[in-house]
């Protein structure tokens, strides 16, 4: 009796188990579902997926095309070499999901007679990361992410056959897809590792060859012979012999250029490899490309002579003409003057001028304050410049505005502006919240106050670039340190000049009305531009740290506002509310602080309407296809960029003209530090954003003004 019931139970559980396993068996039989495999006579291509944590919003899911070649057949790498075409993947994805670029594994050099290609034999997996945004909604009935792929590849042995295939795959959102983890692991291991460009790494054009030096390669590689794979097509002579050597820890090479080179990239990413391991480094190209279509071949001797000649200094690469030192100084001065009108600086300037009304007759005080303000501005601009130059010489690739690429700095500025705004609005006075000794500091030492106002003005002015400043600063970083500091000093002088002039010209103080109630109204009014700036800074932080970071910052700002109000109260109320508010601030700071500074996953690469994301080498690729390219170098924290984005770059007529002329539109987002974009900017003679460039194959890039007008762009297009 006991035995039979137990047996029944065992039987029942076994059959349940079997029933549970059946669906698994069924799905195993179907593999990834119909449509994930395409077979041709030469290859077996399959769409694979790797989603160990499911495919919900916020996840990154990996998909990839695995190509299994028949023996002796091959497909091509990103740069196919002398002939052939790279495999192309075109994804159809649901809303909210975007695909990144192919993470190409290390290729092989395949020789075919006197020619050579870069490609893959055997089996290769081309992985692509899919970023799933918050607005992804899986279908009601099927809880899956449907991925469709239209792929085309050229497979060759001695003859070539262009093939294509359509693939479809459904990735379950809530369960794990990790069956092909091993293949993806192998593909990631086979992909080259990124190597930062150190101070001794350089790429120079010397006559008809490229001279390459690379620092920072793995120690075990020293003394060994490496393989070389350039990602930019149509530059080097793929099949030619080239020389390499080691100079201590620095690897050097001399690679001949193709006589009929049709690509002149400003930045060349290259891959060096040893024993199946690759290191990828992107280097800006120094020197001038030999004239294609010119009547003479420019020799190295001539190039050196030209570089050392009058008006030379450093040639700004193959790009925009470099401007003279004196022009740079003038440009910096004018740029600084114009900065006073920018929304970043105007409130501060207004407050300072307000000070004239308060002490209308104390001309001596005005003059001293004016000088103190100027000193504050000059010293902080030069300190910023010095910091930037020293960081650059230490190998960091930075540009002007670099301080705003750090979310902690943006948060700090937001905090500062909030406090200033609250102070202006009358929520608290400095003497109420600070210890009496420190609070008394401000009125007793107006000079020091003026000095620090100057420092503040520089801190908030840096994101707004004015016309002329981009070129000046771009040149400044290439000059000897002393001359660079002179350019920065002129910028500070321009910024301080209006206030300095006002403080020395009695007419200004006299022109202002007598002190009265209007002063308080104006002071309170000035709080609002401050708060507006805070709103903008929170938006910038949102771009960098995501919505959570922005939300956390807002919470902290509320706590700070509360604390500043509490400390402005009197007596017991002050003690109670003050303690509570400080406690709240501490707790919030502890819990939310990291959220503010944590970098959000990179903004999705999806095409923003007609705009594609910029990537190193992409401009050259598109130009090689015959299209002109318009690149918008922008950043979230750059006000001028956003203004141009909403006005000029949104003009329907202009966009229509771009479309008719088949101009490819690329956007390079420099909101966070990106060495590739910094290098590209440097190549154009700039070190800050915005920069607008129109590229066309066969001519120098046209760099347009920072204050972009539709007329300018149309004129540039007409010159194509």
């Amino acid at each position: 009796m006991h035995l039979s019931s137990r047996f029944t139970r065992v039987l029942a559980s076994l059959s349940l188990l079997a029933a549970g396993l059946l669906p698994l068996a069924a799905s195993a039989q179907f593999g990834n579902g119909p449509g994930a495999v395409v077979r041709t006579e030469q290859v077996r291509a399959e769409l694979l997926a790797h989603a160990p944590d499911g495919a919900g919003p916020g996840q990154t899911v990996w998909v990839g095309l695995q190509i299994r070649h028949k023996p002796e057949w091959h497909t091509y790498w990103k740069n196919a070499g002398d002939s052939g075409l790279p495999t192309q993947l075109q994804w159809t994805l649901p809303a909210g999901v975007s695909a990144g670029e192919i993470q190409w594994p290390l290729p092989q050099k395949i020789r075919i007679g006197t020619l050579a290609n870069y490609g893959y034999e055997g089996t290769v997996l081309l992985p692509v990361a899919l970023t799933i945004g918050p607005d992804f909604k899986p279908g009601l009935l099927s809880d899956t992410l449907e991925v469709k792929l239209a792929a085309s590849w050229l497979v060759c042995k001695t003859e070539c056959i262009p093939e294509d295939g359509e693939f479809a795959l459904k990735i379950p959102v809530r369960s794990s897809t990790a069956g092909q983890g091993a293949q993806f692991d192998a593909a990631w291991r086979a992909a080259p590792v990124d190597l930062a460009a150190g101070a001794a790494s350089s790429l120079r054009i010397e006559g008809a060859a490229l001279a390459l030096s690379v620092q920072g390669l793995p120690a075990g590689w020293q003394g060994r012979k490496l393989e070389f794979f350039p990602e930019s097509p149509e530059v080097i002579e793929t099949a030619a012999d080239w020389q390499q050597g080691w100079d201590g820890a620095v690897w050097t090479a001399r690679i001949p250029l193709s006589p009929q080179r049709s690509n002149s990239p400003a930045l060349m990413p290259v891959v060096l490899a040893l024993d199946g391991q690759g290191q990828r480094i992107a280097l800006p190209v120094n020197g001038n490309w030999p004239q294609a279509g010119g009547a003479v071949q420019v020799s190295t001797a001539l190039q050196t002579a030209l570089a050392a000649g009058p008006g030379g200094g450093r040639l700004a690469g193959a790009a925009a003409p470099s401007i003279g030192f004196w022009a740079a100084l003038l440009g910096a001065l004018i740029g600084g003057l114009i900065l006073n009108l920018m929304p970043c600086v105007l409130p501060v300037l207004a407050i300072k001028v307000l000070g004239f009304a308060r002490h209308a007759d104390d001309r001596r005080a005005h003059r001293i304050n004016g000088i103190a303000y100027t000193a504050g501005v000059l010293l902080s601009v030069m300190a910023l410049g010095l910091l930037m130059l020293s960081l650059r010489s230490a190998g960091e690739s930075l540009g002007w505005g670099f301080q705003l690429q750090n979310p902690a700095v943006v948060a700090g500025l937001a905090l500062l502006f909030t406090l200033i705004g609250l102070n202006l609005a009358g929520v608290f006075q400095f003497r109420q919240v600070l210890p009496s000794s420190l609070a008394g500091f401000q009125p007793r030492h107006p000079v020091v106050d003026a000095f620090f106002t100057g420092v503040l003005a520089v801190a908030i002015a840096s994101p707004c670039t004015a016309p002329f400043m981009g070129a000046s600063l771009g040149l400044a970083v290439a000059l000897p340190p002393l001359q660079a500091m002179a350019v920065f000093a002129m910028l500070g002088a321009g910024l301080a000049l209006p206030y300095l002039a006002a403080s020395f010209i009695p007419a200004v103080a006299r022109a202002l009305p007598r002190p009265g109630a209007w002063m308080d109204t104006l002071k309170t009014f000035m709080a609002f531009p401050m708060f507006a700036t805070v709103a903008w800074l929170v938006w910038v932080l949102g771009q960098q740290s995501g919505i959570n970071g922005a939300g956390a910052l807002l919470a902290l700002l509320v706590a700070v506002a509360f604390a500043s109000w509490a400390l402005a109260q009197h007596g017991r109320a002050r003690w109670v509310t003050g303690t509570v508010s400080l406690a709240v601030l501490l707790v919030l700071g502890w819990t939310f602080g990291p959220a503010v500074t944590r970098q959000a996953p990179l903004a999705q690469q999806q095409a923003d309407g007609q705009w594609q994301a910029w990537a190193p080498g992409k401009v050259e690729q598109i130009m090689a296809g015959g299209q002109p390219v318009f690149v918008d170098f922008t950043a979230a924290w750059c006000v001028t960029c956003q203004y141009n984005k909403q006005t000029t770059l949104n003009d329907p007529q202009l966009m229509a003209e771009m479309a008719t002329r088949k101009v490819a539109l690329l956007r390079a987002d420099w909101t966070r530090r990106d060495p590739a974009i910094s290098a590209a900017l440097q190549q154009l003679g700039r070190s800050g954003v915005p920069v607008y460039v129109l590229y066309q194959d066969g001519r120098a890039p046209q760099v347009l003004s920072e204050i972009l007008s539709v007329k300018d762009v149309r004129a540039a297009l007409a010159r194509l």
Binding site: D82, G113, L115, N117, C160, Q297, A624, G626
Partner: protein, 207 residues
């Protein structure tokens, strides 16, 4: 003042010294003299580049076995380009550098027949079986196009059009570099897109 004068002098001397003429045997860049040659056509004639001095010459590397060549012939794009260009007095020479041992090899008569069936408008179709002319020009793909001006200078080297693909649909949207280049060169202007990316199958050279 003295410094700048001296520098200018050095620059000038270096300029003269730096003018390098293409040494014999090296692949020409655009702007250098196009290598001369003498090849046999599909109808048995001997054709030399020097025969066409004073006229523009377009060179087209062809291989009927290559899908990219077929893309332009099946769509009548190559024939259309040949017709447009030859009616303006330009000479069109189609060259086949495929070696004897290749599966793509076509005997002269067969190649001539294929060009005829395709209604090609090439002035001559030439055979370069040992690949010497192809290598002299640096030809790598089929198709690979060159334009030589009446003075014998290479003014264009690169692809037939601007979209490297095997899709015939791309021909409509692509820029035809030969039509454009010939038009500009005949008008006496320098060719805007003088060096472009050639795309196609690798030429089956004799190794």
């Amino acid at each position: 003042m003295m410094m700048t004068k001296r520098r200018a002098l050095i620059a000038g001397a270096a300029l003269l010294a730096g003018l390098s003429v293409n040494p014999a045997g090296a692949v020409p860049a655009v702007g250098q003299p196009a290598p001369g040659f003498s090849l046999t056509s599909t109808d048995g004639k001997t054709v030399r580049l020097a025969d066409f001095q004073g006229r523009h010459v377009v060179l087209e590397w062809v291989n009927p076995g290559c899908p990219y060549v077929r893309k332009h012939y099946n769509s009548a794009n190559m024939q259309g380009t040949q017709k447009e260009v030859t009616t303006q007095g330009v000479v069109w020479l189609a060259v086949n550098s495929t070696e004897n041992a290749s599966a793509d090899y076509l005997a002269p008569a067969e190649l001539g027949r294929w060009m005829q069936t395709q209604q090609a408008a090439a002035t001559h179709t030439l055979l370069d079986e040992d690949g010497s002319v192809g290598k002299a020009y640096g030809a790598r793909t089929t198709p690979h196009m060159y334009i030589v001006d009446p003075k014998g200078v290479l003014v264009y080297a690169g692809g037939i059009d601007s979209i490297p693909s095997a899709r015939a649909g791309d021909i409509q949207t692509a820029v035809n570099y030969i039509k454009q280049g010939v038009r500009e060169s005949l008008a006496g202007q320098p060719i805007r897109a003088a060096s472009t990316r050639p795309y196609g199958c690798a030429i089956k050279y004799k190794s």
